[in-house]
C-alpha cells in the first residue's frame, strides 16, 4: 500500500457512510487534508442499501454517484477501506491513531472484470442485502462499490476457490499472501461517523422475527424493493416467494421502549410511509397497507408526505402498538392488538409484516478506541471533554439523512477549527 501522509493538520474521518463521506468531502473541499477510513470493502454505508429516500422518493445512489465523483476528483482526500481505528491517543490538535487494515487479497490491478467471481464456487450470505441473498466468495460488494475492486472473502483463503480465483485473474490482481496491516498516523482532529445499525429484531420476542420468515425488518424490505436486491425489485415474501400485496408496517419496533431502545429512532415512521408507496406502486389497487403506530412522527415540512400517504384509501393507519405476531397455517403473519381509537381488538393476517426497526449506534458505548462522552442511548454528545473528536450523523443521534448531512457538515467545520488553530491560520 502506498505511503500515507498525515500530520497534525490532517483530519481523520471514521466511517464511510453518508455522514463520513460528507464530512470528509466538505472538509477536503475547503482545502483540508483528510483521511477517510471505512471498515467494509466499499463506501456508501447504509444509504447504499436503501432503494429510495423519503419524502422525495428519489434514489440514494443518485446522490452517492455525485459524492463518489466528488471523492474521485479530490486530491486532498485519501480513502482507506477495510480499515478500522484500533487505537487513539493524545489530545486535540495532536492525536496518534493506529489503523488496522484487513487484507482484501486483491490489489490495485483489479479491473472489476469479474473473472474471479465466475471462477469461485463458494457462496456466502450477501451483506449488502442484509443476508437475504447470496454472493460469491470473490465479489464486488455492490454495483456502486467504490473502490470498484473485487474482494476475496477471507473464508475462501486456503481453499481451492482461492487458487481458482488467482488462476482466473489475468491482471495479477490477486495476492493471497496479503496480511493485516497496522499503521500509526498523526492527525489533528477526528470526525467519528460510524453511524448506526438496525436493532436486533430477534430481541423483540413478541414479534417473532426469529420464528416467522414473513416478519422482516424495514432495512430488509428496502432490499426487496431495490432492483439490485435479492428479488430484483419484486416484493416477494421470504417463505414462499409469493407477492406481498398486503403488508403491515409496525412502528416503534425496538424504539421508544424501555425493553429495547428507549429513544425514538426518528426515521422509522417516514420510512414506513415511504415503503407504503412501494407496495402501492408495485401492485396498484391490489396492494393493501396497514401502518400500526403510536405517534406518526413526520416532522416539520415533510408532514405533507404523511398527509399524502394518509389520503390514500388503501393505506390504513391503526393507532396501536402491536402486542404480538403469530403465524397462521398458510404462513401468513397474524398481527394481534387493540386499536386504541375506539378499542377494537384485531387479529389481522397479512402477507408480510415489516418491522420499522429502530437504530442504535454502530459502536457500543464501551467500544470506542478512546473515551468519549455518550448519552444514555450510546450516542456521542457534543462535549468539551471529547477534545477534537466530533460526532457526525447517527453517531450523534438517531437522524434522518438530511439531518445526518447537516451534522456531518457541522462536524467538518469543528474539525477545521482545530486544524486551523494548529496551523496558526485561524486569524
Amino acid at each position: 500500500m502506498a505511503e500515507i501522509v498525515a500530520t497534525n493538520q490532517t483530519i481523520l474521518v471514521v466511517g464511510g457512510g453518508i455522514s463520513g463521506m460528507t464530512a470528509a468531502l466538505e472538509a477536503a473541499e475547503c482545502g483540508k487534508h483528510v483521511i477517510l477510513v471505512e471498515k467494509t470493502p466499499s463506501i456508501g454505508g447504509r444509504i447504499g442499501q436503501l432503494y429510495r429516500y423519503f419524502p422525495k422518493l428519489c434514489h440514494p445512489t443518485c446522490g452517492l454517484e455525485i459524492n463518489l465523483k466528488r471523492l474521485r476528483g479530490n486530491k486532498n482526500l485519501r480513502l482507506l477501506t477495510m480499515t478500522e481505528v484500533a487505537d487513539v491517543q493524545g489530545q486535540a490538535g495532536n492525536y496518534t491513531v493506529t489503523l488496522k487494515t484487513q487484507p482484501r487479497f486483491i490489489n490495485e490491478n483489479c479491473t472489476a472484470c469479474g473473472a474471479c467471481g465466475e471462477a469461485v464456487k463458494a457462496e456466502f450470505a450477501d451483506e449488502h442485502n442484509y443476508g437475504l441473498g447470496k454472493r460469491k466468495g470473490a465479489y464486488l460488494p455492490n454495483a456502486m462499490a467504490y473502490p470498484q475492486r473485487y474482494v476475496l472473502d477471507p473464508r475462501i483463503i486456503g481453499t481451492a476457490d482461492a487458487e481458482a480465483a488467482k488462476a482466473a485473474c489475468k491482471f495479477n490482481a490477486i495476492d493471497l499472501d496479503m496480511q493485516v496491516e497496522t499503521k500509526t498516523l498523526t492527525v489533528g482532529a477526528i470526525i467519528w461517523a460510524t453511524g448506526w445499525r438496525p436493532f436486533d429484531a430477534s430481541k423483540i420476542q413478541p414479534y417473532g422475527y426469529d420464528r416467522y420468515p414473513n416478519v422482516i425488518t424495514s432495512v430488509e424490505f428496502e432490499r426487496l424493493a431495490d432492483p439490485h436486491g435479492p428479488t430484483g425489485g419484486k416484493l416477494l415474501r421470504p417463505s414462499d416467494g409469493k407477492e406481498a400485496k398486503n403488508v403491515a408496517f409496525i412502528q416503534c419496533a425496538g424504539s421508544r421502549d424501555r425493553n429495547y431502545l428507549k429513544h425514538c429512532s426518528r426515521i422509522c415512521c417516514m420510512a414506513s410511509l415511504k415503503q407504503a408507496t412501494y407496495v402501492r406502486e408495485k401492485f396498484a389497487d391490489a396492494g393493501d397497507v396497514s401502518i400500526y403506530y403510536i405517534d406518526i412522527r413526520a416532522i416539520d415540512r415533510i408532514d405533507d408526505f404523511h398527509q399524502k400517504v394518509k389520503a390514500d384509501p388503501k393505506v390504513k393507519f391503526i393507532k396501536s402498538k402491536v402486542a404480538k405476531i403469530e403465524q397462521d397455517k398458510v404462513g401468513n403473519p397474524v398481527v394481534h392488538g387493540v386499536d386504541t381509537e375506539g378499542y377494537t381488538r384485531y387479529a389481522t393476517a397479512h402477507d408480510l409484516v415489516v418491522l420499522a426497526i429502530g437504530m442504535e449506534p454502530s459502536v457500543a458505548a464501551n467500544n470506542f478506541p478512546i473515551k468519549v462522552k455518550v448519552n444514555e442511548s450510546g450516542f456521542i454528545e457534543q462535549d468539551e471533554a471529547n477534545g477534537a473528536i466530533f460526532a457526525a450523523g447517527c453517531s450523534s443521534d438517531a437522524l434522518d439523512v438530511n439531518r445526518a448531512v447537516q451534522s456531518a457538515t457541522a462536524s467538518a467545520l469543528r474539525a477545521i477549527q482545530v486544524i486551523n488553530r494548529v496551523a496558526g491560520t485561524e486569524g
Binding site: P206, C252, R258, N259, S320, K321, G337, V338, Y343, R345
Partner: protein
C-alpha cells in the same frame, strides 16, 4: 368504608389522577402511560374487559372516577403479567390493576356480584384464619357463593372433577373439618392487623 369514599371524593375533588397516585398501588405510574395500547392487546382476557388497562389509565386522567372504580374490568386480570413485560414505559400494569381493584373494594365501590371479587374475599378469609389455604373449604364456599340453588348446580357440575381429585389423593374430604394450618396463626393475624393499620393510617393521610 363508605365514609372513606366520601372522604376521598372530598379530598380529590378535581383530580382523580392525584387520588389514584396517592392511594392505589402503582398509581404513581399512571401518568407515564403513552397510550400505545400494547397492554390491552396483550391481555389474554382482553375481550372481557369493558375498559382495558390503557383505557382505564386514560379514564383516570380524564377524571372518570365512578366509572373506573365501579368497573368490573380490573377484576378480569388473570395476573399473567403479559402487560407488564411488554409495556414500553415500565408501568407495573398488573399491580395497578390489582391496586385499583383493592381500592375499589376498600371504598365499597367494587361491583357486588363480581365473581372474582367474591372468590378473592373467600380466599383471603380462608387464608387469614389458618395461615394456609384450605382448598376444599375454599372450593365449597366458591360453589355456594352465588346462593344455595346455584351452588348445588355448580357442585353437581363439578362433582366428577372433585371425584377425580379425590381418587388421585389430591383432595381430602377430611380437610373440611380440620386440615392444614400454621402453628402461629395468632402471630400471622397480628402481623396482618398491624399491616392493615399502617395502610389505613396512610390512606387517611393521603
Amino acid at each position: 368504608m363508605g365514609d372513606m369514599n366520601v372522604v376521598k371524593v372530598e379530598a380529590y375533588r378535581n383530580s382523580f389522577l392525584k387520588e389514584v397516585e396517592a392511594n392505589v398501588e402503582g398509581g404513581q405510574w399512571v401518568k407515564m402511560c403513552m397510550q400505545c395500547g400494547v397492554c390491552s392487546g396483550s391481555c389474554p382476557l382482553g375481550s372481557a374487559w369493558d375498559h382495558p388497562p390503557q383505557e382505564l389509565f386514560m379514564m383516570i386522567r380524564a377524571g372518570k372516577r365512578e366509572e373506573v372504580l365501579t368497573s368490573s374490568s380490573m377484576w378480569m386480570c388473570t395476573s399473567c403479567y403479559n402487560c407488564i413485560v411488554r409495556c414500553p414505559r415500565d408501568l407495573p400494569i398488573t399491580h395497578i390493576m390489582h391496586g385499583l381493584a383493592h381500592y375499589a373494594e376498600r371504598l365499597g365501590l367494587a361491583p357486588k356480584n363480581q365473581p372474582t371479587r367474591k372468590f378473592a374475599k373467600l380466599f383471603w378469609n380462608n387464608l387469614v384464619k389458618k395461615g394456609r389455604v384450605n382448598e376444599l373449604k375454599l372450593g365449597v364456599a366458591l360453589y355456594f357463593m352465588n346462593g344455595l340453588v346455584e351452588g348445588i348446580k355448580t357442585a353437581l357440575k363439578m362433582a366428577p372433577l372433585g371425584l377425580n381429585m379425590l381418587k388421585t389423593k389430591r383432595m381430602n374430604p377430611l380437610e373440611y373439618v380440620g386440615g392444614h394450618g400454621i402453628k402461629d396463626a395468632a402471630g400471622l393475624q397480628a402481623i396482618l392487623k398491624k399491616a392493615r393499620a399502617i395502610e389505613l393510617a396512610k390512606a387517611k393521610k393521603a
